[in-house]
Symmetry: C2
Subunit: 472 residues, 2 copies
């Protein structure tokens, strides 16, 4: 392992030197992983690690289905956002008012919404969903009036288990519980594995919804430093694990940073939590929105102790308003079902049918393919626009999927102040401050790019760039 | 007050004597409340109280829209179930396994379900709901995919406020929060007004779902003696109010006992909780299923301090599977909305439209009228069947609405044991034991009569009667 670690760094160094000496220049394609393996006579994994290392330093970039290229970032100032440190933050202060300000305007149609954590209507297969509802109404004959089993519709659970190829058959309908969206799964998972006063590890920056749920349940969030490309700092996590009652991470296409935790790290993470017997709540709602060639594995795939509670939903991909999510809660299944019984009793049977049908007949996969392509195009658009309109020292995260772009601006800038100005010009974004319980990420922002790309969007990003430039 | 109390008892005594001396005989109509007022030269309320007293002792019975009659019960052994006392119950033991046994078979169609707390499909306007869904799909144009506001669809809230004539304009759309069914409202109401370890007053017998929610939230239930005709014993409640953090009552057509708490008692209850500043969670989901001439007032109507959290839903009357409930949480509104945000985020927009539309166009009221008539007919049927097939010493509650009949059998009988025998003969009912956290109500049972009355039902009640008779 140690030897292997040195090896991948050596290979990364060789390639880095080639870039700096301009043996490899902007846009050059690197050898494929297989060719490089033969070239350096090492394992596939070593090459993958070497490329990942270079990618993490923005020297190379992966292009879906094409391979690795010398990156533009290697030659210019936009670099990756910095890693958060575990500071001795004393003043906890969840920014509820700021969150309220950002999301209070969310249904106003005259505002360009870079803040919304949901895909716009034009990304969703509305006509097919309409048809799906009408078919479900016709087939049921009871207008969806009966209760479902508390665990959720058996058809839907079977359809999810069958569709979740990424798990390679490791979950069945018995392992799943249907919930009223992913947040409901998250809330119940936290409830099932903690008691008030317990500490829960989260990424930093963290999705504010997770921080709010932790607070609402009387728990303490422990923010773990998180790398913008690899995710969670495992060494930092290891130090606090003995004090922690649960982990709560978004491992694939993280909200807000967009990273994909490498498989090696996932395996290592599962090993760690198993060793310390700490449940891991894995929010994997963006996992199918990959820009690469395949759906990344969740930590759940490596879980043998039943300690990973794996959460999915269709809210980010198909039908937010249907409130259909699910959880594979491992050994906490019975507890989750009992909790659901006294909370919401069951889900809506009609929507269970609509979603089962979408999953079973390949319509969901078909939609996801189209959706991913649109999102990747939009990512390229927003990345270009930020590079064009925003100050040169703007650090841009490199999402590997999903639809959120994390930016780190000049450290003199307060995005909370910017937000007020932007909102007065009908532009809404998520200021960095809401992604921590501490007073940090003040110079960061999250932009959603799951919106229809048009002149207004382009011009509003130009406006936003000017607002930023004027504020320094 | 004291004087008035003596007065109504005196009048009751006069009438009781007339019945015993057979001046008034079975089936005779008593003077109307107004005639009696003139006759005895007392207030309307005194007469009402006197009649209520006689009714509580089964000497007279009220017939919807017709008045009071000398009751059949006055002359036979079936009398009202007894009132629970506040005992020093030491061994708390919520009967989870028994509940699981009763509700584990709930989706099996070969079992006659006297246990289900829901109306059967034949009571619901399936065709109109189908049409409602298809209209909503057509009108929306977004297949119901967007999120609703956390507080709930404004249209739906407006429709509920407008439809809730019983509140005489005291609530508006701003006062309401939409929830995923009434249980979700209950859970959130309990969360909003208590902290773990707190005590919550409930009726006894109590709906087991409330007992489960109280337990799940780490609260303690304090069971208050409850009269089968008047509901809660206010004197008993008053004694424990200083120790109590919330009350949780089903005031209209109580589950399981079917009583309607008199208006005077509701007014008095609200006065009491206001005096002690204890929030009252009022589960009023059966309130529209009255057998009498009008919808009874909820306690919320008398609430001026914003201490009553009034819960409604369409799950017991129209569409259980839609998971549409609501709460008028008084001064706890903001807390409830914040809680909902981290739990389920929002409701399904499509069903909000379907239900708004049903409410707005009088379709819901039309359906309720039909539903009430069917339920009253079924009540008469089941009451007759129990009188016919069950042992003579069976005490039968006198529900004033809703669809549940509470029975108290010979005290040597264990309905938990009976349940096993009945289930083996494909008959399911709710044994009394599940309605308390203590080892009581073992000789009681709850029968739901919101099922299609047919030969099978009639013959199964006959079977049940024989099982009971054989068990003594």
């Amino acid at each position: 392992m140690k030897n292997n670690q040195t090896l991948y760094l050596k290979i990364a160094k060789i390639i880095e030197d080639q870039i700096h000496k301009e043996t490899l220049v902007l846009g050059d394609k690197l050898p494929s992983v297989r060719s490089a393996q033969k070239l350096y006579n090492v394992s596939l994994n070593t090459i993958k690690q070497a490329y990942l290392e270079l990618e993490s330093r923005s020297l190379i970039e992966s292009r879906p289905k094409m391979g690795y290229y010398v990156s533009k970032s290697a030659l210019r100032t936009t670099t990756l956002p910095t890693i958060a440190s575990i500071d001795n933050h004393e003043n906890k202060d969840t920014p509820e008012e700021l969150i309220h300000k950002v999301y209070g305007t969310i249904d106003k149609s005259d505002i360009t919404q870079f803040a919304l954590g949901l895909p716009g209507k034009n990304f969703l297969p509305i006509a097919k969903l309409n048809k799906g509802i009408i078919n479900a109404v016709r087939n049921r004959g009871d207008a969806g009036t009966p209760y479902e089993p508390v665990q959720g519709s058996e058809n839907l659970r079977r359809a999810i288990a069958k569709w979740a190829l990424v798990m390679e058959g490791k979950i069945t309908e018995d392992d799943l519980v249907i919930t009223s969206g992913a947040m409901h799964a998250m809330y119940n998972a936290l409830m099932a594995v903690t008691s008030p006063g317990d500490s829960v590890a989260v990424e930093s920056p963290a999705y504010f919804g997770i921080l709010q749920a932790i607070k609402a349940l009387g728990l303490k969030a422990v923010e773990i430093p998180t790398h913008p490309l690899h995710g969670l700092d495992l060494d930092a996590l290891k130090k606090v694990l003995p004090e922690i009652k649960a982990c709560c991470f978004i491992t694939n296409f993280n909200n807000p940073m967009g990273f994909q935790m490498p498989d090696e790290n996932k395996r290592e993470l599962v090993k760690l939590i198993t060793q310390y017997n700490v449940p891991l709540i894995e929010d994997d709602i963006y996992g199918n929105l990959y820009f690469g060639s395949e759906r990344p594995k969740p930590c759940k795939f490596y879980d043998e102790a039943g300690l990973v509670l794996w959460i999915g939903s269709v809210s980010k991909t198909l039908a937010p308003g249907y409130r259909v999510g699910w959880i594979a809660p491992g050994k906490f299944k019975d507890k989750i079902i009992r909790q659901k019984l006294v909370q919401t009793v069951c889900n809506s049977s009609l929507f269970s049918d609509v979603i089962s049908d979408f999953l079973e007949h390949g319509r969901y996969d078909h939609h996801l393919r189209t959706f991913r392509n649109k999102l990747y195009t939009n990512y390229l658009q927003i990345n270009r626009a930020v590079e064009t309109y925003f100050p040169d020292n703007t650090k841009i995260a490199q999402p590997k999927g999903g639809f959120m772009l994390w930016l780190e601006l000049d450290e003199r800038i307060s995005t909370t102040a910017l937000h007020t100005t932007a909102l007065s010009q009908k532009i809404n974004f998520a200021p960095g401050r809401i992604f921590s319980q501490y007073n940090q990420y003040n110079n960061c922002m999250r932009l959603t790019y799951a919106l229809e790309w048009n002149e207004r969007v382009e011009s509003d990003l130009g406006k936003l760039g000017r607002i930023i430039k004027n504020s320094i």
